[in-house]
Symmetry: C2
Subunit: 513 residues, 2 copies
Amino acid sequence: MSAIRHALTIKRADDFAQWYQAVVSQADMAEESGVRGCMVIKPWGYGIWERIQQLMDRRIKAAGVENCYFPLFIPLSYFSKEAEHVDGFAKEMAVVTHHRLISDGKGGLVPDPEAKLEEPLVVRPTSETVIGAAMARWVQSWRDLPLLTNQWANVVRWEMRTRMFLRTTEFLWQEGHTAHATRDDAMVETLRALEMYRGFAEDVLAMPVIAGEKPENERFPGAEATYSIEAMMQDGKALQAGTSHYLGTSFAEAAGIRYQDQEGGQQLCHTTSWGVSTRLIGGVIMTHGDDDGLRVPPAIAPWQIVILPMLRDDDGDGALLAYCEELRDKLADLIALREPVRVLLDRKPGKAANKRWDWVRKGVPIVLEIGGRDRENGTVSMLRRDQLWAENGKPNFQNHSCDGFSSQAPSLLEAIQTGMLAEAKERRDVNITRGIASLDALAEFFTDANQFPGWVEVQWSKPTGAALDQVVEQLKALKLTIRNVPMNAMPADGSCLFTGAPAVERIFVARSY
Amino acid sequence: MSAIRHALTIKRADDFAQWYQAVVSQADMAEESGVRGCMVIKPWGYGIWERIQQLMDRRIKAAGVENCYFPLFIPLSYFSKEAEHVDGFAKEMAVVTHHRLISDGKGGLVPDPEAKLEEPLVVRPTSETVIGAAMARWVQSWRDLPLLTNQWANVVRWEMRTRMFLRTTEFLWQEGHTAHATRDDAMVETLRALEMYRGFAEDVLAMPVIAGEKPENERFPGAEATYSIEAMMQDGKALQAGTSHYLGTSFAEAAGIRYQDQEGGQQLCHTTSWGVSTRLIGGVIMTHGDDDGLRVPPAIAPWQIVILPMLRDDDGDGALLAYCEELRDKLADLIALREPVRVLLDRKPGKAANKRWDWVRKGVPIVLEIGGRDRENGTVSMLRRDQLWAENGKPNFQNHSCDGFSSQAPSLLEAIQTGMLAEAKERRDVNITRGIASLDALAEFFTDANQFPGWVEVQWSKPTGAALDQVVEQLKALKLTIRNVPMNAMPADGSCLFTGAPAVERIFVARSY
């Protein structure tokens, strides 16, 4: 029996989708923009993205990859080239056809028929084609390889059903694009990016992931191999949180990316691409959020510690603020998770208790409430977001001496970061089921009664072509998809769940976003 | 008589426009993309933008402004609203009309007529309208004010004539948008942003600027006052390098941004907007570039020091590289201009002398060439980009002990930064002419024979309306524009150059980009 009055009115267990929207809204992360499928990312949501960007960019640069910026618009003809060699070519894209507006004579505006573009321009859904054209100019000789580029940009895909952060018409991402002399070099880069994403997800987002290869049917159109990191959300569904593709030589052929080798011959480059997006923020919400809102891992929290002075609009406020400022300055000088501690003294008007709940919903790792009595005693009253409730159902405030808290703050933040990963990993691991060996057993497991079934690891014979299509259809009937073939999994030792033939590897099967 | 063989084949004095293109290209900053009016920003150009972004963002955040992200697409109807109250409404914009491509049956693709948008979407040329709509949702009461937001984004303006960095169809910028309770508060913010830009241009870009108010005819459409920073390029032309607008209440009225005041009444907000863009990079090139290429101020140099080991493909290379690595690590631990020194050990294949000239053209502040002899003697051979040539017309290498160089490196970088600003300021100041008091004298001054005439400070009576239009036409005939009314100028003490009436203030008149 719990007397806890949670900060959200919707609970994860009752309606996970509604709960997700409530967190996005009540943590003040983003909102609908009035423009179809596009969101406004508000300061708290954007601040988390800035942290992700900064820390990911550091890893990208450390790998010797250089940032560039390529055009938003891609001429239609570039896609015709791609459409020829790509079967599953996605055609839902925003198309620019005019470059001027004129008055319609009725107080409105219309595209000027006189200003129709000779060749329509597509708003980039991804930049393979336009970066490929640049690489064809930049690569001449083996000395120019590897060519390692990355871009931080907005991209647009015309989605029919959108959900904030998870699937929006416009989203923000990074896209790495590299060219190499050999298949081996390109494959090393493909897996380096995958491992970078895996490490980032776990170390920075505290979000455990399974890295592995996607099955043939889930490959990026035109790719020879697609790898992903897959994270388990609290409803047991899988979120594809990042991908890395080995593209072989087909994109190089379409764009003409060739190099002269050391013997003077002309060779096609082997290319890769890899990306993560604002979707990661959706993953953070569904990994760490709880019935009180978001919980942000300290490594990506725009503010890690918020100080709330309990002002009373009286003479004591000046001394109280001075006490809080001194503490803030002291904390800001500390290093946690290898960066200066990010601490805010929140002086906005409003009651401290209301502001406390705002910060709880936003998921700031540590809130300090400080009143006149604290100042007199040299203490602080601390609330950890990851240990929000005491056994009596009340907020779990802990009193510390001011100095004691300061000296512990870095290790506290690091402990919260580590604890969040451990908690998510444990939940993920207990929600992976093994040993299901028939399609019937699989269907039985994924009944509607099993609200949060998690993932199932099954063995299969890795069918291809029509045989794979049949497997995909069988899974689709159960609303399931193959997530990936995990790296470093145990070798297969049974028979294929779908065909009964000897199994060759293990795969994860799950419902997904 | 100079025996110097410069690193560029085109000299500033011979053809400034061609020289500019040569720097952009030979410093490997950007190139044409194949997409009309859009450029590819290459790693060295983008690295400079990343530095600008990072240092400007710090100043923006320090002022309490929060970053958000708003949609790329703006519904056409938003502009209809604006078109009503804005006379000079700019209509050259990219318009999205379709959301799908289909095959044309001849191997190409066309916009799908079935996927025509009910309401066309405009690719943002600036975000006043869509941010105004958000502010109308976010502002309820005086407690919500001031509302201080900023966005880093790409924007698109369909330009007929483009020049890399200076005027491109797509460009990168930041746009600050704020809402305030009173005119005074909004004006303080407008001028704070202006002063932030002035300080940034001088301290970070080493680019001296004149901050002042634009004349009525140069105001942002719908603004009540527009301020700019103006920089003098080496050809004497003015570059508007940043603007800050006080928008009065008209944008708030169009978007419905109202607040309840402390007495319970409904009030319109006063809004501002302010921005700088990748155009700043064009300003850096034309302020600091010379006949050997770009010179990058240390504060924004992606690499401040480049170490070139003179490898000989023999047994000595290992020891030489170890010596260089040790030096690199030592330098990277130093702090200059309040940040860790950015130092690159360039191991790319190629001759050290060729690589030296590549880095000279890119404008890296300090190049160190290190050979086997240096390693034996514990020395380095240093080339300062701002003191490139010795009196004998040869590269001005200076020998230092390795330890001596390390201990001086921070103060050297700071001296280069300071020296570049002083040099640019001196050139700017000697190229400002005062005392021209008649239109004839002005015409005589700006003859074609005067190749780099610089700016002229004149006095005027601040005509408005039709009288101002006449002044603008008179200046236009001389290819001149009014740049701005400098803040803190001497009071007027003469008569108006245009009307002969008593002058009320001083203005700058110049040719411009």
